[in-house]
């Protein structure tokens, strides 16, 4: 049973490259945490500091409430799965899985006892005598996981373990990882820059940018209540529409988009004195028909471009100076150059301060 805690973690590489800045996070026992962020934001570095593969420049890392800064990787009771699998090419699958146990000084029979069930669980038993080079990508991936599991560590670390697989295999391995985690319930930290992986796997997602935590939350929270403009834009595909707006108040708060007035029914953060803000609406929260919406906001726009993507259509439209993307079921009929009404679910609006980038709006409707 293990909790993990990062306290004010800093990483400064030689040459004064400040990669991780004041990273704080408490991970509960058995939790599946995903680090998500653009390339170079310091995900791997943070993970490697936890693994003991990288010096910690400042702060403390605790595993089970014990500071591990000065411990060897092996003493931290962690196991790690690497992006390129890092299997030992000269060892058979069996030897790869058994290597850590051999180093730990276990006897031959003890090793056998531990390797067999792991190999069974991962369906590696028929492959045990093969060398890694004679395995497919998915099989290598499983060996790498077997190597991590055989030591029954308290914390599992994954650094983009699926990014070398093709799309199909990635999906099935993702499910496998999820199932495994449900089965063994060990604290897991998983690094990726693939949102789908993050959304499907995580109990909580940690969004990183430039070595700083932008938001920590469940996939639902991250998606529906992004804490700031960066998170809002980073999560979701196609990306959220951002529209610069003027914020004003008469009877209630409202914004103006291309001369059309949108009333805000929720709570606007009153501390914000800023009148310039950015409105955020996800393409799937803009509808072409008012069906299903209880009290939609209506806005007019011209359809500029239309793409059929199968079950959905994606269209772009111009609202004043800004362009918006709309995603709608392909059963709806619209034509290019047509002026049409767009219906917006008010409870799905986001508003970000231009000064701080922070979210400054809470819609009224409670999210399901």
């Amino acid at each position: 049973m293990a909790s993990v805690e990062f306290k004010h973690i800093e990483k400064i590489y030689p040459g004064n490259v400040h990669t991780v800045k004041d990273f704080n996070l408490k991970i509960n026992d058995g939790e599946f945490i995903v680090f998500l962020g653009p390339s170079g934001c310091g995900k791997s570095t943070t993970l490697r500091m936890l693994a003991g593969l990288e010096d910690i420049s400042g702060g403390e890392i605790l595993i089970n409430n014990k500071v591990v800064n000065d411990l060897e990787p092996i003493e931290r009771d962690i196991a790690m799965v690497f992006q390129s699998y890092a299997l030992y090419p000269h060892m058979s699958v069996y030897q790869n899985i058994a290597f850590a146990l051999k180093l730990a000084g276990l006897s031959k029979s003890e090793i056998e006892e531990k390797v067999r069930p792991v190999a069974d669980m991962l369906q590696l038993t028929p492959l045990l005598d093969r060398k890694p080079r004679a395995l497919s990508g998915g099989q290598r991936q499983r060996v790498a996981m077997g190597r991590a599991m055989v030591r029954t560590p308290e914390v599992f670390l994954f650094d983009e373990p699926l990014s070398n697989l093709d799309a199909k295999l990635r999906n099935s391995m993702r499910t496998e990882i999820k199932t495994l985690h449900k089965k063994i319930k060990k604290t897991t930290i998983y690094v990726t820059h693939d949102q789908v992986e993050a959304m499907t796997l995580a109990d909580r997602i940690v969004i990183l940018r430039d070595g700083k935590v932008e938001q920590v939350g469940t996939p639902r929270e991250i998606y529906h209540s992004p804490a700031n403009k960066f998170v809002a834009g980073f999560i979701g595909s196609p990306a959220m529409n951002f529209i610069p707006v003027e914020l004003a108040k008469d009877e209630g708060w409202h914004v103006d988009i291309a001369g059309q007035k949108l009333n805000l029914l929720g709570d606007v953060d009153d501390n914000q004195t800023d009148t310039k803000a950015t409105l955020g609406i996800r393409p799937c929260d803009i509808h072409i028909t008012p069906d299903l919406l209880t009290n939609p906001l209506v806005i007019k726009g011209t359809v500029e471009n239309l793409e059929l993507l199968g079950s959905t259509i994606q269209l772009t439209s111009r609202l004043g100076d800004s362009q918006i993307t709309v995603e709608a079921p392909s059963s709806h009929m619209v034509n290019e150059d047509e002026v049409t009404n767009f219906y917006i679910d008010e409870s799905r609006l986001h508003l970000f301060s231009d000064q701080t980038g922070l979210s400054m709006y809470k819609p009224n409707a409670v999210l399901e």
């Binding site: 490697r48 693994a51 003991g52 593969l53 060897e72 990787p73 092996i74 962690i78 196991a79 790690m80 690497f82 992006q83 390129s84 890092a86 299997l87 030992y88 090419p89 000269h90 290597f99 850590a100 180093l103 730990a104 190597r147």
Partner: protein, 275 residues
């Protein structure tokens, strides 16, 4: 088309001529050992009319040739062994430990590689003498290892650096210290480069003449390169004996070459091309 064919022919005639230039002296050597002196004089290059086996037999007669070969082998064996061990250890510190200032020390080894061993041969001789290594096989082995280090460290290091860095991380997580990683992962993965460097050192040591000449005085310690020169000194211009002797002594090298061709060529040119 006609011109094309002409070029072909010209090319093969040229290649055959060069091959003749290379091979005729060698065949003459092998065959010369089977000829009497008289025949050697009238027919130096052709097949012998009468095959005489006594000259070859005499090469083996007193058994000293086995001792020479044995000494050469011992020197070569330990030179290879030590170069591989020390070379990989040192290269490992450059490729994985990367201590502060390692680049300077690495360059120190590389610069040493550029300088001729022969330039400082006299002080080297005095050093070997003062260390009490004169007239011992280790007196040949140790300096030989020292001179091969620059080259082997260069090759080893570039090989180690090409290994994926995640391999080291994985091994650390599995519980390897640096030494265990070197032993369990680096060395087993380095067999190609070990073979390449090993072959290079082996051939250089087997053929070395100057260093044994300098260090060894008693015949009991001689490698075959000294033995062959001594044999020539004894038999002067009895070329049939000498040619038989030469043939016998170069045979191991040629057989070895035919078997380990790939590694030899890589060992002797590979470093050049990669470096």
């Amino acid at each position: 088309m006609f011109a094309m064919r002409k070029i072909r022919w010209g090319k093969y005639i040229f290649l055959m001529l060069v091959a003749g230039f290379v091979l005729v002296p060698m065949f003459a050597t092998v065959l010369g050992g089977f000829k009497s002196l008289g025949e050697l004089r009238t027919n130096p290059f052709g097949l012998p009319d009468v095959w005489e086996f006594e000259y070859y037999a005499q090469v083996f007669a007193d058994g000293s040739i086995w001792l020479l070969m044995k000494n050469s082998l011992i020197i070569a064996f330990f030179s290879v062994l030590l170069t591989l061990i020390i070379g990989t250890m040192t290269a490992f510190t450059f490729s994985h430990i990367k201590f502060a200032g390692y680049k300077y020390i690495y360059n120190y080894f590389l610069i040493g590689m550029m300088f001729p061993a022969a330039a400082a041969i006299l002080p080297l001789f005095l050093k070997i003498r003062d260390l009490g290594l004169l007239d011992s096989l280790s007196g040949v082995v140790i300096p030989q290892v020292a001179f091969g280090l620059g080259f082997s460290i260069l090759l080893f290091r570039s090989f180690f650096e090409q290994l994926p860095s995640e391999l080291f991380d994985a091994a650390r997580v599995d519980g390897c210290s640096y030494i265990k990683f070197y032993w369990h992962v680096i060395l087993p993965l380095s067999t190609p480069i070990l073979a390449t460097v090993g072959v290079f050192v082996l051939v250089a040591s087997w053929n070395n003449y100057l260093l044994p000449l300098l260090v060894l005085n008693t015949e009991q310690q001689y490698p075959w390169t000294l033995g062959i020169m001594q044999y020539r000194g004894e038999y002067g211009i009895e070329w049939n004996r000498i040619l038989a002797y030469v043939t016998v002594t170069i045979t191991p090298a040629i057989v070895f070459f035919l078997f380990a061709q790939k590694y030899i060529v890589e060992g002797l040119t590979g470093g050049a091309v990669k470096g």
